[in-house]
């Protein structure tokens, strides 16, 4: 049984707590909250609650591996400490600092939970199995509600940039971005892959408070896949026009990701996401932002 420590906000801890019975060969033993909420029961009564400093100075014997779900700055400092301890770590919000991580003496698995979403997994399988043929066009719409506490644009771009590179199995040779003068929370970008492959993605964080929207279409040479929230809406009648309500898919992506982390530690499977994947996505995100700022097409170095 692998003993896991969690470093996250208290709200996030509640989500991870709900996953504990679905994990195989792992259990939460320590929780280091990043805020001051009372979370003595957050990860179950058996988990110790301590500060991040105490976790690393006094509780190192209480855990075998660490899961970090935090903002980029916190993730960077905490992840480096865990790596120095020689313990495996699953960490999200990796951004430019990925380049500063040297040869780690322990497993460092970057968290890309978007890859583990059931619909995305199904699309990826259909690509890998050759059902769709050669990928030709990836179209993504990702719209979030407006929120004062939203993540920086570079973090919000990461999932779809990574998905594009992952699904095409390549780094784009050209990047073109388009901003909206009327909406600072809108960005559209256009990725060109070798052999004519293309991805066009728009990201918005300006919907009214409430639900978000996601749609991914992958068009291949012999087939196509459509993962679209629009297809998964039910109707609620409560007077007036009916409301569309999306079928809840829970947090399966987090379960799948955690289980892979555990399985990799156990030696039961290969790590599917590498730091090189993260590094590639970070670089493309930088190119997307560079194109948005310069209003120029950004070309990959070797394709210039």
């Amino acid at each position: 049984m692998i003993r896991l420590a969690l470093i996250s906000s208290s709200e996030t801890a509640k989500i991870y707590s709900g996953l504990s019975t679905r994990l195989h060969r792992a259990t939460w033993t320590v929780f280091a909250p990043l805020d001051s909420s009372d979370l003595s029961q957050a990860l179950g009564s058996s988990a110790k609650v301590t500060s991040t400093d105490d976790l690393f100075s006094q509780e190192t014997a209480a855990f075998d591996a660490v899961v970090i779900d935090a903002d980029s700055a916190t993730a960077e400092s905490v992840a480096k400490t865990v790596v120095d301890l020689g313990k495996p770590v699953l960490v999200g919000a990796i951004s430019q600092w990925v380049a500063t991580i040297g040869e780690a003496n322990a497993l460092l698995m970057p968290a890309h939970p978007w890859r583990f979403i059931p619909s995305i997994q199904a699309v990826k399988r259909s690509v890998d199995d050759g059902k769709l043929g050669v990928p030709g066009l990836l179209r993504i719409h990702r719209w979030h509600p407006s929120s004062p506490g939203k993540a920086p644009i570079s973090e919000r771009l990461m999932p779809d940039v990574d998905l594009a590179c992952w699904l095409f199995g390549d780094t784009p040779e050209s990047v073109w971005s388009l901003q909206s003068a009327a909406n600072e929370d809108y960005l559209q970008f256009h990725l060109g892959f070798t052999n004519g492959g293309m991805a066009i993605i728009d990201l918005s964080a300006s919907l009214p408070s409430g639900g978000d929207y996601y749609s991914l279409t992958m068009i291949g040479g012999t087939g196509a896949a459509y993962a679209d929230d629009h297809h998964n809406m039910n109707l609620l009648y409560s007077g007036g026009q009916p409301n569309a309500i999306r079928t809840n898919q829970g947090h399966i992506e987090l379960v799948q990701q955690l289980q892979e982390f555990v399985d990799v530690i156990d030696g039961k499977r290969e790590q599917s996401i590498s730091l090189a994947d993260t590094f590639r996505a970070v670089q493309v995100v930088e190119q997307v932002l560079e194109s948005a700022n310069s209003c120029e097409v950004v070309k990959r170095e070797e394709s210039k």
Binding site: L137, R139, H141, W143, L178, S180, S204, L207, G223
Partner: protein, 368 residues
């Protein structure tokens, strides 16, 4: 008809989309009186024209000028090879006849400009065939016009058309000659997989781009100023052999600061259970809108259902009737139809700019 005149229509060639003259014939304000074409057209053109004329029990005249002189026409419906659309339209306009023309408007922008001039000079009405009266498109228009999502900031159209187009990409053997575009289009007429009929090979952006760009024009009321595009010959050997696209993505910078995009492709029959995934996404200052263009539809499944039969059928689709209604109103009231010559020309300019952008790899300004 309450005293309203029945408008007499000549069909100037009907080699591909006979839905256009059929829509004219189906509307009570119009009647087909003659099919006409130039005598020097090849036999296959005359055969198709004759077939249509026979079905509607009207004469087929192999002389356009003679048909205009002898049949007291009010308008013409042009559904010829793509490269002849503008020329036939200009010849009709110069005789004072109103014109309904099939898409694409032309294979070159100078021809579009010539047509715009002729329409203006002769003060006639011109309608470029479009899908702007589909029920979902009307709904999108109503939602945006009502302010339901606030001021429009971004609009995206996906237009994936799930038809085959002959042999798949990669099937040509070493000694096989490249597929001849026109020959393939002529042969494909029997199964309806022809598209872009004419001598000049046309990609999907040129053939079908009018439809999604027509939606964008309708919903924004603005022109596209600049484009960035990528295209590929991804599916069909005929497109590879003729160096034309069957898949394209275009970023659009539109008037009033609106941004947009267009994805379009003839993605093959296997890639969708029906005619294709066609959607409109719009973001406004107060919300967003997601529209499936095919709705409303009804699903019908049954044993031994032919694979080529769509399992989801569009219903309540009155696009053709409403286009003809729109055109009759335009003529009666001397107002502009829903997609006039200038609109069509501006959309064609967007398409040509997109093709240029793809070629040179940078954004391209649309020429006005």
């Amino acid at each position: 008809m309450g005293g309203l005149k029945i408008l007499r229509c000549g069909v100037f060639s009907v080699v591909k989309h006979d839905y256009l003259p059929r829509a004219v014939a189906a509307h009570s304000r119009f009647e087909l009186v003659v099919v006409a074409d130039d005598a020097d057209q090849p036999d296959w053109v005359h055969e198709r024209n004759q077939l249509f004329a026979d079905e509607f029990n009207v004469p087929y005249v192999k002389n356009v000028a003679k048909a205009i002189a002898e049949y007291d026409l009010d308008l013409v419906a042009v559904s010829s090879q793509a490269e002849r659309h503008c020329d036939l339209s200009v010849r009709a306009a110069d005789e004072g006849l109103h014109v309904i023309a099939d898409k694409p408007m032309s294979t070159c922008l100078s021809e579009c400009d010539r047509l715009v001039d002729a329409v203006r000079r002769n003060d006639i009405k011109f309608l470029l065939w479009n899908r702007n009266y589909l029920p979902s498109v009307i709904q999108a228009k109503e939602a945006i016009d009502s302010g339901a999502i606030g001021g429009l900031q971004a609009i995206h159209v996906d237009f994936y058309f799930s038809k085959d187009a002959g042999p798949p990409k990669g099937t040509r053997q070493g000694n096989d000659p490249p597929i001849d575009w026109l020959k393939r289009q002529i042969e494909a007429h029997t199964d309806g997989s022809d598209g872009g009929v004419g001598i000049e090979p046309l990609g999907e952006l040129q053939i079908e781009g009018i439809y999604p760009l027509g939606y964008i024009h309708l919903l924004t009321g603005e022109n596209v100023h600049r484009v960035f595009a990528r295209t590929a010959s991804h599916f069909h050997q005929a497109n590879v052999d003729n160096n034309i696209d069957d898949l394209a993505s275009v970023s659009l910078e539109i008037g009033k600061g609106i941004v947009g995009s267009l994805c379009i492709g003839r993605i093959g029959a296997a890639s969708h259970p029906d005619i294709g995934e066609i959607k409109i996404h719009a973001i406004g200052s107060k919300g967003g809108l997601v529209i499936t263009e095919a709705r409303p539809e009804v699903s019908i499944y049954y044993r031994d259902q032919p694979p080529s039969e769509f399992k989801n059928e569009r219903i309540a689709n009155e696009n053709d009737f409403l286009l003809m209604d729109d055109f009759a109103r335009s003529i009666d009231t001397d107002t502009e139809p829903i997609l006039n010559a200038q609109n069509g020309r501006d959309i064609a300019a967007t398409v040509f700019a997109s093709l240029e952008s793809c070629k040179i790899g940078v954004p391209v300004e649309v020429i006005y």
